[in-house]
């Protein structure tokens, strides 16, 4: 038994979360929020560093929005501590916090023009008129809305409203900006464009972002790190790469992307490899590293569909190969997804990118095939 479900060997990097001396900008310590008997946020602890885009990712009702509202002060924690930039936020009302929030519905003031919307926060701070005007026009050009300054929100498209909402929440130069489903109301094409713009703006201003989203693709492209939430708890925190390639639980593996899960028990446990017996595959699954577990323990091997290979001929270079027949083919343009019914009765998803326009040995329904994956493609999860 060695170090467990290993993350890749630590390469030197400048990421603040990897630096034990870095001081987190936002600290959430054992925060719990109860609504009556319902526990919306369950003993969450979290460190977020300056300049990060941190995504809270989870399904609806997982507590991510409640956590965001706790950070912005619209809810008060039942217990625990929230520290922003070294200051305990206990008892600090929303209007006194140095953070800002971009709302899911954008929450633009319907009776004010774009300009007035953006200027509102600065006016509350009592800044001189000239400075307000200058900062508003800076913001307008940053989000490319200069020519819409005098429009009312209902005269704008969804994408334009999103920009105004972003400008309004950034104009006070908050050190921490919270974004609640910032791209949720946009259509797919616009969402992809806006994602990259958002990152660009974040980098140019150096603001720390905390983003709430249910969209894993959005979380993957935007974030420096992701915190996966379910039932009020954070189940894993890591970079998009870590979350995708090294999920620590069945839930995370299943929630992010799609995955083939082979349930089984540890049958052989060695320093450098383990074997996992699974009814799903009939033969043992080989895992090329030690894991923290005992013989007989119930575990699962998670394998991503794109890491499974499929062929009509034998796959010689792999230890984990199984046979079955093609049950379903979904052609998605850039890739195809095959459902293979293994001889054990287990269905396996395999995705292959369509590099060639036409393939000599195209796979068809009902074909007998071999599927398999390289030793390191499988991830063992025990919880």
């Amino acid at each position: 038994m060695s170090e467990g479900n290993a993350t890749p060997d630590a390469e030197p990097r400048a990421d603040p979360w990897a630096d034990p001396h870095a001081v987190p900008f936002l600290q959430v310590r054992n925060v719990t929020k109860k609504f009556g008997a319902f526990v919306a946020v369950d003993n969450v602890s979290l460190d977020i560093y300056k300049g990060e885009i941190f995504c809270l990712l989870g399904g609806s009702g997982c507590g991510k929005s409640t956590l965001l509202r706790l950070l912005s002060g619209f809810e008060t924690a039942s217990s625990g501590q929230i520290i922003i930039d070294g200051q305990d936020q206990e008892g600090v009302p929303p209007f006194a916090r140095k953070t800002n929030m971009m709302f899911q519905s954008y929450a633009l003031f319907p009776h004010m023009s774009v300009e007035k919307n953006i200027a509102y926060g600065l006016k509350r701070d009592g800044l001189p008129k000239a400075e307000i005007a200058a900062r508003v026009s800076d913001m307008l050009s940053l989000v490319q809305m200069d020519q819409f300054a005098s429009r009312k929100p209902h005269q704008l498209s969804g994408g334009q409203r999103q920009r105004v909402a972003l400008a309004r929440s950034l104009v006070k130069k908050p050190k921490l900006l919270m974004l609640d489903e910032p791209l949720g109301a946009l259509d797919k094409k616009l969402r992809e464009e806006t994602q990259f713009e958002l990152i660009k703006i974040q980098e140019s201003l150096g603001v720390t972002f905390v983003v709430v989203t249910h969209d894993q693709e959005e979380a993957m492209t935007l974030s420096s790190r992701i915190g996966v939430m379910t039932e009020g708890r954070i189940v894993q925190v890591g970079t998009p790469h870590e979350i995708y390639e090294y999920p620590q639980s069945r839930f995370v593996a299943d929630f992010i992307g799609s995955v083939n899960m082979f349930e089984g028990r540890i049958t052989e446990d060695h320093e450098d490899h383990v074997l996992i017996g699974s009814r799903d595959t009939q033969t043992d699954i080989f895992v090329p590293h030690g894991i923290s577990g005992v013989v007989g323990q119930q575990v699962a091997v998670a394998v991503r569909p794109e890491k499974v290979q499929i062929s009509k001929s034998q796959l010689h270079d792999m230890r984990n190969t199984f046979t079955g027949k093609i049950d379903e083919i979904a052609y998605m343009g850039n890739s195809s997804v095959f459902q293979v019914l293994l001889d054990s009765g287990k269905r396996v998803r395999v995705s292959q990118s369509n590099r060639m326009r036409s393939n000599e040995d195209t796979l068809k329904w009902g074909d007998r095939v071999h599927v398999g994956w390289h030793d390191d493609a499988g991830i063992v999860v025990s919880s």
Partner: protein
């Protein structure tokens, strides 16, 4: 374009004739030259002139206008407070009972409202010596109470639709709760307040029954004067007066309807 069914056309015409023929005939006869209300004697506007020389009617109209203005204003304030309590406060026990009770004056017979208010005023006077006799003040109080019920219904529907995150956004940008109310909440619900005010104003102007119960000497509202005049026999100047009232009321309703639809359009987007 859809072919119009003759039957539907007929029903539509019939319905509107049924509703508006009496009003139309009243408007026409208000321009009657003859003193006899039902006999056409040629076109004239002399009854309108007559009307403006009748001090009793002018005074009653002025009283009615003052009462309607004040009671509508009070009703909107009370209605707004009531709506806020019912919509914004966290669920409390008997909340649904209360929200049903606030609409009760809408369906309560006016006679009962009038009578119960009269009894209250008399009892209060006996106990604390206020409101010191019946007159304009008591009518204003009475009209405020049932006007508030109507106002609350109108304002509640607007508050329910309002996106709470707008207020949160204002707070997030540094506005204290009172500021938020005046900067954001009030402007957003303003169209509803306006139409609630117009509704309460119109209802107060129309009311005869409740006013008759709680009024005192020297405080006869316009409907009361008309009613007493008609009892002595219909005179053509009443037609003229009625026509003016119809004009004013329709104007009020049209403005209120426009306000509501405009606010709906801007909030729908």
């Amino acid at each position: 374009m859809k072919r119009r069914s003759r039957f539907l056309l007929f029903m539509g015409v019939f319905g509107f004739v049924f509703l508006y023929a009496p009003i139309l005939s009243l408007v026409i006869f208000s321009f009657n030259e003859s003193k006899l209300v039902t006999v056409w004697g040629g076109f004239s506007t002399k009854w309108y002139g007559e009307l403006f020389r009748d001090p009793q009617i002018l005074e009653a109209a002025w009283i009615s206008a003052k009462i309607a203005f004040l009671s509508a204003s009070i009703a909107v304030v009370i209605g707004t407070i009531g709506s806020f309590v019912l919509i914004r406060f966290a669920r409390f026990r008997s909340k649904s009972l209360l929200s049903m009770m606030i609409t009760a004056p809408l369906v309560m017979p006016e006679v009962i409202i009038g009578l119960s208010l009269l009894l209250l005023f008399v009892a209060l006077q006996g106990l604390i010596g206020w409101p010191g006799g019946r007159g304009m003040l008591t009518i204003i109080i009475a009209h405020s109470t049932f006007g508030a019920a109507y106002a609350a219904v109108v304002i509640q529907s607007r508050l329910v639709d309002m996106d709470l995150s707008i207020e949160e956004a204002a707070q997030d940008l540094g506005a204290k709760p009172v500021r938020v109310f005046f900067d954001v909440t009030l402007p957003v619900i303003a169209p509803a307040l306006m139409s609630a005010w117009l509704l309460a104003f119109t209802l107060s102007l129309d009311d005869l029954v409740i006013a008759s119960f709680v009024s005192g000497p020297g405080a006869s509202t316009l409907p009361m004067v008309i009613f007493s005049k008609v009892r002595l026999g219909v005179s053509p100047d009443v037609n003229a007066l009625a026509t003016i009232i119809i004009g004013l009321v329709s104007l009020g309703i049209i403005v209120a309807a426009l306000q509501m639809s405009r606010s709906k359009r801007s909030s729908a987007n």
